[in-house]
């Protein structure tokens, strides 16, 4: 067990080991992930209120450090940044060129406040970038030494559905340390160790052994969260349900509301589409290749000579939803969704994936009968 003051020691212990420490903090009316100088920058006493298309911060009547759900940021912006440079090249003799690949920048990261769903999100991106035939060199360098301090949820958001996705609210694996914040009685944190590195860092913190009462209080906090999910989703055979319903009329209906703005893909912790751009200097003797986040909501995403494969909003919304919840299984052996609710909260028109999927399930028989 550690007290709230020990979080400062945690930040210091990680910094002392050369980590760039990142965690939740309040900026411009939202809880975002940014560099932490000390644990005093955590969102102390703040919570978030989330509904489809709406997010706002509220004061809590306690000093909770992790009394919110998730904000618009996810850890992917550090492991898989929105823009990276792959390489630079310059012209050499006889029309040739030489490519320089700078070593990926890899200040090792320490993330404080990783939710259980987010651990699953990182594991999903690991599958895409590390566990296929080709390894993404930049992701690998950023991910390799990342130190993960997980936090179990006790205050789920109005758009959360991790229980349905089997990704939370309790961190089960994939962390170095996991904290459970206990507000009931003395303000304290149960610390669970997930790795040798984690154990070593914990030895630097002022602490005491956990007692039965502590364990009970921690268990109750997480169970309470599981019971208060803002959303739920029936995931039975979801992949096959979607594969059978590619011509469902719900796609037209949702397309009439969707702005194809791509916000949902930007906030989603697992979305990984990128575009590769090649640039050249004005003189034409230097070139660079960069990678930028892209979105399947753009018409250009599917452009081939002669036109876009998915010119309609209907086909682009369908691509997003069927990929995330269906074909991701075929491609990577896992769902692409961790139930964090970000896409629901940050959709400007409040489109709710759980509602869209439920609507397709509920009306499937009708479309079958029409075949």
């Amino acid at each position: 067990m550690i007290g709230p003051e020990a979080l400062d020691d945690l930040v210091a212990a990680l910094k002392g080991r050369g980590f760039r420490v990142l965690g939740p903090t309040v900026r411009d009316g939202a809880i975002v992930y940014d560099d932490l100088e000390s644990a005093g920058e955590l969102p102390i006493g703040w919570t978030d209120r989330q509904e489809p298309g709406s997010y706002r911060l509220d004061r809590r009547d306690d000093e909770a450090r992790f009394g919110y759900a998730v904000g618009p940021h996810s850890w992917k912006q550090f492991l898989f940044p929105a823009r990276i440079s792959f390489w630079q090249a310059r012209r050499v003799d006889e029309g040739g060129f030489e490519v320089r690949e700078p070593p990926p920048e890899g200040a090792p990261f320490a993330f404080i406040g990783v939710r259980s769903c987010e651990l699953h999100g990182i594991a999903i991106q690991d599958r895409v970038f590390l566990e296929g035939r080709h390894v993404d060199r930049d992701y690998e360098a950023r991910r390799r030494d990342a130190f993960l301090v997980a936090v179990n949820c006790f205050e789920p958001g109005g758009t959360c559905f991790c229980v349905s996705m089997g990704t939370g609210p309790k961190a089960e694996a994939g962390y170095d340390l996991a904290l459970t914040e206990i507000l009931d009685g003395e303000h304290r944190f149960l610390v669970q160790v997930g790795s040798e590195r984690g154990a070593e860092v914990l030895r630097d913190l002022p602490r005491r052994d956990a007692e039965t009462l502590d364990l009970q209080a921690a268990g109750a906090a997480v169970e309470g969260a599981a019971a208060r999910m803002g959303r739920s989703l029936d995931t039975t055979d979801l992949r096959d349900l979607l594969a059978r319903n590619l011509e469902h009329e719900r796609w037209d209906e949702v397309a009439s509301r969707c702005l194809t703005c791509g916000n949902c893909t930007m906030v989603c912790p697992t979305c990984f589409c990128t575009s590769i751009e090649d640039h050249t200097s004005l003189a034409g003797d230097e070139a660079e290749r960069v990678r930028l986040w892209d979105s399947c909501y753009s018409v250009d995403h599917s452009y081939i000579h002669g036109g876009s494969v998915r010119p309609s909003g209907r086909s682009r919304y369908r691509q997003w939803l069927t990929h995330k919840f269906g074909t991701w299984h075929d491609q990577f052996g896992t769902s692409g969704c961790i139930g964090c609710g970000r896409c629901i909260t940050w959709c400007p028109v409040g489109i709710d994936v759980t509602e869209e999927l439920a609507a397709i399930r509920a009306t499937e028989e009708v479309s079958d009968a029409n075949d």
């Binding site: 490519v99 970038f129 060199r137 589409c273 575009s275 050249t280 070139a287 074909t327 075929d330």
Partner: protein, 279 residues
């Protein structure tokens, strides 16, 4: 074993290859032969493609269309900025190459069977390495048939080579054009029409088809009508492609990634997806 660093670099960094030969095929299509500036030539299986980079302009997927063990050969149609820059590359110029990527034609599975190659327009180049393989191991295949069509006679690629193939006794070649212009004295009509009368045993044949999607669809129908089983028909699919590594998300075709699971697909795997509009 390669170290981790070796396997990792090169996935995004193109290797320089020098253009050693450039030949015009049609008004807008050129064939380039490339040799590595240093290091090993590229090994590949028929049907694979590379990501071909024109310095500072960009990179696009292009099928390999030469013979294994020879220079790297690409036949490219100039349709936009990158393909134009590639086509304009004269001998001596250097292009970047990544790959090879993708799953190839079923040249091994076809051993002992008849082989029907159906190509439309610029669809012949990606099939040529498969034909070379059949001819190299000619005695191990049954009848080998090439059915080739294009819009006009001026759009036919590899004309001399196709003429030379015509005179071989161990290869049946049939060529047609949609519109017979100029002094064309050959067949006129779409290429799927050639399937009905070609000489092969449908029950013991493998078909490899490449061309515009609509042409592949009609070709597959004609092959099915002849009695070729749907799991012995193979097609090559196209989508936007940016990385070739299965990471950029652009080449998704339903549950598959074309750079990883394609570009060559078995018809029975792909047919349900081809039917869905804008998938």
């Amino acid at each position: 074993m390669a170290t981790a660093a070796e396997t990792l670099s090169g996935a995004m960094a193109p290797r320089p290859f020098r253009v050693v030969r450039r030949q015009r095929e049609t008004g807008d299509t050129w064939t380039l032969e490339l040799e590595p500036v240093n290091g090993e030539p590229l090994d590949f299986v028929p049907g694979q493609f590379t990501m071909l980079y024109a310095f500072g302009v960009g990179e696009v997927p292009i099928s390999i269309c030469g013979e294994r063990g020879g220079p790297l050969v690409h036949t490219v149609r100039a349709v936009g900025a990158v393909s134009e820059a590639i086509c304009a590359s004269r001998p001596g110029a250097v292009l970047g190459v990544r790959g090879p990527f993708g799953r190839g034609w079923p040249v091994e599975e076809a051993l002992g069977l008849d082989v029907v190659v159906v190509a439309g327009g610029i669809g012949l180049p990606p099939l040529r390495p498969a034909l070379y393989e059949c001819l190299r191991r000619r005695s191990e295949y049954g009848d080998v048939v090439l059915l080739y069509g294009s819009r006009t006679p001026a759009d036919l690629v590899y004309r001399r080579e196709v003429e030379a193939w015509r005179s071989r006794f161990d290869l049946e070649v049939d060529v047609t054009v949609d519109r017979g212009e100029g002094d064309w004295r050959g067949k006129v009509g779409v290429v799927p029409k050639l399937i009905g009368s070609a000489r092969f045993d449908p029950g013991a044949a493998v078909a490899m088809v490449c061309g515009p999607e609509i042409m592949m669809r009609f070709a597959a129908e004609a092959l099915l009508a002849r009695g070729v089983p749907e799991d012995r028909i193979y097609l090559s699919m196209e989508r936007n492609m940016q990385c070739g590594l299965g990471h950029c998300g652009h080449c998704q075709l339903g549950p598959t990634l074309i750079c990883r699971d394609g570009p060559i697909y078995r018809f029975d795997e792909i047919e349900p997806l081809m039917k869905v509009r804008e998938l």
